[in-house]
Amino acid sequence: MIKEIKIEGIHRIEGHMDIRVYIKDPENVVVRAAAKEGTRILSRILVGRDYQEIPEITSRMCGVCSVIHKLAAVQAIENAFDITLTNELKILRELVAIGGHLQSHILHLHFFVLPDIMKLSSVLELLKDKETLVKEIIRIKRFANEIVERLAGSSVHPITPVVGGFTKIPSRKSLLVVKEIIAEMKNRVMEACRPFLETKWDGFDVQNVFVALKSDKGVPLLDGKVAISTGLEFDKEHYAEYISAILEDYSTALHYKLRSENRSYMVGALARLNINYENLDDETRLVCREYNIKFPVNSPLINNACQALEMIYFLNKAENLISELLERTLSLSKVDYRIKPSNGIAVVEAPRGLLIHHYKINEHGKITYSNIITPTAQNLKNIEENIKAFLIEALNEGKKENLELEVEKIVRAYDPCISCAARFYHESQV
């Protein structure tokens, strides 16, 4: 063996992850991306519980993207009970989801990635001579938190979204404040995103397959068909025919691959924009042009720039949605529904990519089966493949220095969330 790379507990990601690389020769590189978070077997804990408890528990899979885990569970159960929300409630849900994406993207870009760009190890080091910048980052993060807090009760583990709607809808006064916050964030977001757009994320030569929700309007978060970048599309009910789990004994998370392509794939902001770039609004397109970002793109490192683009895009979208909501009357907080034995599936876009929640519910409203496929778990195999491609290229070019840091940067670009990934174990899936 000519080299072994071991990175334990990668810094500035959510959760615990190790990378092991064994290089025998430049053509023979083995990469293992291992989730090291203790498994909390959430899928099993859900079985036997009342359907109303499910979103409370799934929200706790991840403190960074708790919003989408709550909404996904709520939506899957609504799917099982054939519940259709009013348009007003749908808009409110979408705004909550956007708030969650903004929270997560800010945390990832500004707390985890920015130090890489500035060649520092921690955002705290910025405090020494760039205190205004740190204060600005904190300000926009607080804005994103306040959007979620005002619309859903709490910025971490939101309270009000429940099956059928919300326990409480925000007052008109609160909606007007949210509108102001969105406007204020819009003023500041371009400046805050500039470092991620200016950086040259050229990376390395790699071919990736991308999977994301697709719709004919915008970049969808809560509905749409599932699209594969090779051209295939399928409805959410058929997810198991396309996505299959792989059990790796070195990782506490399941890994996944696409059956149809028999290979790994990438989900996340880059996948969303690769699949929906034609639907971006004019302003975001202009930014793409200004920074010479042309979709589709392949390198996973560009995921960072895509999250920045998404912040601009989602703020524009949120501005439209909140105006629309203020024009309507938001009076009904919940629609009526009946419990019935059924099967419910939700496929949504978490900040880190495609997220699938699937439940079976009996006539008493108790869960009899659950399956949750998180974005990071889906990305793990592709992270391994991309690191391998990078190392083969680097070794062939004779590079030997700083390989660890470059590998870490690739991992961080995926914005992995091991808390989410290392949870789901079924005897039936093995």
Partner: protein
Amino acid sequence: MRNKFTVGIFSLSSCEGCLVQLINLDDRLLKLLEHIEIVDCRILGVKKDYDKMNIAIVEGSVTSLEEREKLEKIREKADILVALGDCACSGGKFLVKDFDISEARIKLPGSREVFRSDPLDKYVKVDFYLWGCPVNKDELFSLLRNILLLKHVKERAVSVCAECVLRENNCLIELGYPCLGPITRGGCSALCPSNNKACFGCRGLAEDANIDSLIEIFEQHKIEVPEYLRKLKALVEAKKSDKRD
């Protein structure tokens, strides 16, 4: 001026939502940073050389031997250890109310052991507990401030129900919801009931919790008694008889 307090921030198995709450202290975190020096925090990318630290803040529950060893090492180096959030305080049990995990005892991939989710104080001494899922930012800030000021820290002895009454909310039990406010440790300012949502007890049992009486009140109001409340009762009784033995 005295030296800054050295602080390590650690995470075992958890959703890291409590760490997010710590970062969400925002300007108050900057204020704290004038008085503390963070020596270890993976999520913020800080790893300094240190043999001792004044305060260790530990989030998450112990789910493996590796985590237990990590926790024991942290304890050795720390003067004060703070359990941050429900997972650290109770192993996350109050949220999932899963008191019988033996039914889920299975071998898991990537780990040689069977599943467990233990609170920190099963293995080490804990000096301060911060309950909640996630922890409340005001409570977190005031605990840290009080530690820095060397002030005596006392746990508030009120239930969520008492805090809810102070906020003049409508009583959810009277409206027919199975609210656990009367038996749950306060400190959250009745966040969920104030959002029309029944308290589900994430902060653990209040000191004087009377589960029997709550079940009686539910029955009086024709509220279906949730299964987890009966499990909770069985757990408390088992603990009591443990103590007697």
